[in-house]
Amino acid sequence: MYALAHPPWSTMLASVADADPPDALELERLVVQRAQGGDRAAMGQLLVSHGPALYRRVLLPRLGSDAAAKDALAETYAKAVARIDQFVWQGAGIYPWLRVVALRVALDMLRARRRVLLWEPDHVEREIDRAESDAPTDQLHLALSDEREARAKVTAALALIHARYAEAIRMRLLEERSREDTARLLGVTPATFDVLLHRAIAALKKRLQASDAPTAEHDRP
């Protein structure tokens, strides 16, 4: 009986993931692989998945307006598509990398816009440095961290101004009470409240412009 020395089952293919159902991170790794291979549907899949978090957690709080945040998101997408081959999978998904791309876009826009906002360019620069030096962390952790940072910025900003101004801003803008309700709760007429709010915003702008110190703990180098 002839006994053929069989070739190994393998031929000339890369090994693939084992037969167990892959988790979401492994699925994303495969999508990233496809995207890096030029598969534009895979690239689109990554951007559609992560774009909302980039907009809401990274760009909108730092740039302060929907229009600017969408401009920045478009720019982030373009850069991500151009540089996807530079991404190296480190086991935490692609979101941390996309977040740094978005932060850099936000930094460029803050430098160009010269508006008084909660984030100064050097704050964002420090965030980029931190992101690039720290070990990669997962998307949920980053999103929660960004949300906490944003709330902390607001709290720190309001702490810079007179308590009555802070109250006016908090009630009318952050708690979204009506002009009339807010005026009533503060014990003034609506017209007087308009002046109060104007003064509050002016004071905040002045304090943010004058402030050299970081406005949140995480900004400290």
Partner: protein, 170 residues
């Protein structure tokens, strides 16, 4: 957290009587807060506070349009676009739907019955050669079942994409 230093209260007494100029500026701010397109600096700072406090979610259709513009029909060419803005309003270029099937999180998309795809929406992912799945450097331990696994997993992802695309149909 370090407590920021309170200001020395050199601002105007919050409840001091307002000048005519202050009343005009207050009216201007009130009007600007009611107009999302306004470029009033005070209104912009106010909106920045709101955005940092509770950022609203991104519109799904807007995101898809941005993604489609970035990925584009040719796939590998980066299309750098600056969307035009007028009076603070974001005006996207009138690109319309491009050939891209996007995966959308089920949590965002409402579930709908599967229907035949509409011609004006992104096309579905079609069956195609699996050769591109096997282009990486060769190793010697892959079995036929490993290759079938890879094909099934890759196309399973495509099926999900196609279902989500169909669920957006109305």
């Amino acid at each position: 957290m370090t407590t920021p230093t309170r200001p020395p209260f050199d601002e105007v007494d919050p409840d001091a009587p307002a000048s005519d100029e202050e009343r005009r500026e207050a009216d201007s701010l009130r009007a600007a807060l009611d107009d999302p397109r306004s470029l009033h600096e005070g209104a912009e700072l106010a909106r920045a506070l709101v955005a940092a406090h509770v950022a609203p979610p991104l519109d799904v259709a807007a995101n898809r349009a941005l993604v489609a513009r970035a990925v584009g029909p040719t796939g590998v060419v980066v299309v750098r676009t600056r969307v035009r803005r007028r009076a603070g309003v974001w005006v996207g270029s009138a690109a319309g739907a491009l050939a891209l099937a996007a995966a959308v999180l089920v949590a965002i998309m409402p579930r709908r019955d599967v229907e035949a795809p509409r011609a004006d929406l992104q096309p579905l992912l079609n069956a195609r050669s699996t050769q591109p799945l096997f282009r990486h450097p060769f190793e010697t331990r892959a079995r036929a079942s490993d290759r079938i696994d890879r094909i099934a997993m890759a196309r399973g992802s495509d099926l999900r994409d196609n279902l989500y695309t169909r669920w957006d149909v109305r």
